[in-house]
């Protein structure tokens, strides 16, 4: 499939030491295709994996983390196939969506055990550094079972970052966090990316991805629907035909006045409202009040109809 957005050179998997390269990667479970022929390269910095629930984001992350084999194509992490090779984890970490942590352990015990199982020379020191980075030092000797969701999320992050991996994969890291915790998590990920780590996180919320991702991969129904800079993606998402519902004192008169406007692609009249298809919200915002004023029509309601993320995704898939 072809990508909307910026034209980009394709970096093949062969010989590539990029943190993460998918080449025609597919994964199916029985008859269900979860990931369908995705090719992309992730470099360092923060990459947002955006898509509605069930789009295949978790499957992609699990394949990248070597927990699931591909059904077709390939995945390479720093040039190597991650599946079934524990050496992968020297340089990769996955923070799962599941909130569960070993509740009977303290963060220090949990992170130290991870450090030891990763073969670090000084597990306790490494754990201390990781807990400091996520600001859990003050709570490191309380058991994880009593932690809030945001604190558990940070403990999971410390467990993932304890060996300072070159690639960190996070599955819905902002889910269930309050705005303050969310901002804190964003700062942590940004700090991690600044230190040179490639950070990939999944989300179904555009604003989260826009907030910190330097580039975005949009996944819909197992396919890569769009990719690129987040500003580019925002433009793609806004420069598409919009539907606007209008209620006024005289819909028919207003329709006649607007149909000649270049930003209006089409008008239709229902019993009690006027539906406009437009290319450019801003142009309509100027044209609509002007038309209403010059024809002495009162506007009762102007409402965009299709601004949900699902509509945006659906539009991107159609392209």
């Amino acid at each position: 499939m072809s990508a909307p957005g910026i034209p980009v050179p394709f970096a093949g998997a062969a010989g590539s030491k990029a943190p993460l390269v998918f080449t025609n990667a597919s994964r199916w479970f029985g008859d269900v295709v979860a990931v369908n022929d995705i090719s992309c390269t992730v470099e360092s910095g923060i990459t947002g994996l955006l898509g509605p629930n069930g789009a295949g984001k978790t499957t992609l992350l699990q394949m990248a983390a070597g927990l699931l084999p591909v059904s077709g194509g390939s995945v390479r992490v720093f040039g190597a196939d991650p599946f079934g090779d524990v050496a992968t984890y020297a340089n990769v970490a996955l923070v799962p969506e599941a909130e569960a942590v070993p509740g009977m352990l303290t963060p220090r015990q949990f992170v130290t055990a991870r450090a030891a199982m990763l073969g670090l020379a000084q597990p306790a020191d490494a754990a201390q550094r990781a807990l400091a980075r996520v600001q859990l030092e003050d709570s490191q000797d309380r058991t994880l079972g009593g932690f809030s969701k945001g604190m558990k999320q940070r403990a999971k992050l410390a467990a993932a970052l304890v060996h300072e991996p070159g690639l960190v994969l996070l599955d819905e890291p902002f889910n269930g966090l309050d705005p303050r915790q969310r901002a804190q998590m964003m700062r942590l990920l940004e700090a991690q990316a600044e230190s040179g780590t490639a950070v990939v996180f999944s989300s179904h919320i555009l604003e989260e991805v826009e907030g910190i991702a330097t580039r975005v991969l949009v996944v819909v129904a197992g396919r890569l629907a769009a990719s690129g800079d987040h500003r580019e993606l925002r433009r793609l998402m806004t420069d598409r035909p919009h539907t606007v519902h209008v209620r006024s004192s005289d819909d028919r008169l207003l329709a006649g006045a607007l149909v000649g406007n270049p930003s209006v692609l089409g008008v239709s009249l229902d019993e009690n409202r006027l539906t406009l298809r437009v290319t450019d919200h801003a142009a309509l915002a100027r044209a609509l009040p002007a038309a209403a004023r010059s024809h002495s029509v009162s506007l009762y309601e102007v409402r965009p109809a299709d601004e949900s993320l699902e509509h945006v995704f659906a539009y991107l898939v159609q392209r």
């Binding site: 070597g66 927990l67 569960a100 949990f110 060996h163 300072e164 070159g166 990719s227 690129g228």
Partner: protein
């Protein structure tokens, strides 16, 4: 479609990266696995239930002595109690909890991911969990066997039954632990399946149908135990349907090897979450 994006900063290859290693530091790795295993296994409820079941045969022994039981009937008493309370109940339950408990719970809540996404080999993970379960189960069962034997035998083991069951129980701990660990990585409801195996398969079916005696860990461990009791006790009571000593040893070794291999194989490709 294809896409690539330029790097934001320099660090992109493994060369500049951390000290995590895929080999070595086996001692620290083992200690970490043990810590996680113990944290999951040593919980108040299993400890209380385990203590009660461990004490049960010892209480029977005290009653036996207290109500005038003598050395003449001691062998029969011990054979009956060991068979019913230790080999059929305490041993498999202790092995089930210590071998399958931690792994089963970690799979249930998904935290096994934190063990699997490390550079520790799946073989080491399986071996540490198996040795842990075998040692803890052996200690628990030996407490019951030796406690019961010494109380009922007034401080000694005149019939040799205690020694025989001590040996058989340790072998049984190793076999059950390997089987239940394999169940825990292969099945979602391993504790339930393990319990059904103990109660239904071993408790009734394998005693009734002699042809399947080789497919029961209990029959195999009793086959080994039989070798160490006196000739008068052999071939009767709990030993009525057991396989011979050599066959039992071969089966015990084969089951442990196959179960551990199956565990390691499965851990290499364990699904950590259900596909959506």
């Amino acid at each position: 479609m294809s896409a690539t994006v330029p790097p934001a900063s320099a660090k992109s290859t493994s060369a500049s990266l951390p000290s995590a290693s895929a080999s070595g530091r086996t001692g620290a790795r083992t200690a970490a696995i043990l810590r996680l295993t113990i944290a999951r296994t040593v919980r108040p409820v299993p400890i209380v239930i385990g203590a009660v079941i461990t004490a049960l045969p010892v209480v029977f022994a005290a009653i036996y002595r207290g109500t005038g039981g003598d050395d003449a009937n001691l062998a029969e008493f011990l054979l009956t109690r060991y068979n019913a309370l230790v080999v059929s109940m305490l041993l498999p339950l202790a092995a089930l909890v210590t071998a399958a408990g931690a792994t089963s719970a970690e799979r249930e809540d998904g935290t096994i991911l934190y063990l699997l996404t490390t550079t520790t080999s799946r073989t080491l993970l399986a071996m540490v969990r198996w040795v842990f379960a075998t040692v803890v189960t052996s200690v628990i069962v030996l407490l019951a066997v030796i406690g019961t034997g010494l109380v009922s035998g007034n401080g000694s083991d005149p019939t040799g039954v205690m020694r025989a069951f001590a040996i058989g129980s340790v072998v049984g701990a190793a076999v059950y632990s390997a089987v239940f660990l394999a169940l825990a990585v292969w099945l979602r409801r391993s504790l339930l399946v393990g319990l059904l195996y103990v109660l239904v398969w071993e408790g009734t079916i394998s005693g009734l149908v002699p042809a399947i005696k080789y497919l029961s860990a209990r029959q195999v461990l009793l086959g080994i135990t039989q070798r160490f009791v006196q000739p008068a006790e052999q071939g009767a009571g709990p030993f009525a349907t057991v396989p011979g000593f050599g066959t039992s040893v071969a089966w015990a070794v084969a089951v442990v090897v196959v179960a551990l291999a199956a565990t390691v194989y499965r851990l290499r490709k364990l699904p950590v979450t259900k596909p959506r």
